[in-house]
Symmetry: C2
């Protein structure tokens, strides 16, 4: 189990690569009140994005732009997250094409296992991520870190363990 969690945490690591893990006992930010309500209020929202790790970013960008005719952004290097990213706009949601950047990219391991690329995670929006974290913990849904982190979009995110989500790495993002 520890190995699985470590691997999943590594896979998701590009979202908070340079932040240290929050220790147990500091599970929630200091902005949270000491006494949480029993039933914190939060709602699940839209599918924010589907993240795809690809071995050849220009090739996949060209496929979605030139063959599929979708709106595809230029690739943006995010060295602090160890990836380059390009966004495919599908109108109702987007795909994020991720490619390793630098020597220690956290998606390098994923691409070693999935040489042709593959879906890395899905991201679902929530309106109150702190409340979500509290309830998920109560309901024994594991997350990869104790607390939320600031993700690549500048908003608080948390990754839930794939084994508790039907085999899928699920990111929750505050909207």
């Amino acid at each position: 189990m520890a190995r699985v969690l470590k691997a999943a945490a590594s896979a998701a690591g590009f979202y908070f690569k340079h932040q240290t893990l929050v220790q147990a006992g500091r599970a929630f930010s200091t902005s949270q009140p000491l006494h949480q309500p029993d039933n914190p209020v939060w709602k699940v929202g839209r599918l924010n994005h589907v993240a795809i790790a690809v071995p050849d970013l220009p090739k996949t960008m060209a496929f979605y732009r030139n063959v599929m005719g979708a709106k595809v952004s230029e690739a943006v290097p995010l060295p602090e997250h160890g990836v380059s990213v390009s966004f495919v706009d599908l109108g109702n949601t987007k795909m994020e094409l991720l490619h390793p950047l630098g020597d220690e990219s956290p998606i390098e391991g994923f691409l070693k296992k999935h040489k042709a690329g593959g879906i890395h995670h899905i991201c679902i929006e929530v309106d109150n991520i702190k409340a979500a974290v509290i309830e998920l913990k109560k309901k024994k849904i594991r997350s990869l870190t104790e607390d939320t982190k600031i993700g690549a979009h500048g908003k608080p995110v948390i990754f839930l363990h794939p084994k508790d989500c039907g085999g899928v790495l699920v990111e929750l993002e505050q909207v």
Copy 2:
């Protein structure tokens, strides 16, 4: 390559399990004119769904319904496609939770490789799937069948080869 195509075709087979493969030379339906325009007009649309194969359907349904608070449909058996399916409504798009049904479910093999479950494919809408098929063929994007099939939603669909789509099995669906 043949083995990869066969495996991918098998994985996608639940969408057209009881239809025979269209032979080469009958790549397009007889409703197509003999002389196609050089640049058939079609546009890519929304992300219709993300399909997730799960080993324990009630458990994953309960996660999305009771923990995440999403709208989750009852499971629907689709014996002609070899799966039971439940829909998770995320507002802007949906997730389709798939579980094997019957002795020869086409997602059985996928779940043997991904015991905890995983994302099986994504489905993107197009407004003219016949034109899309023609252009994709010209641009050397492989598909798992020569022609479209009627999919689980009763609309024409075609699956594109993962190796031409950044490692992801991509379904196109006519809207």
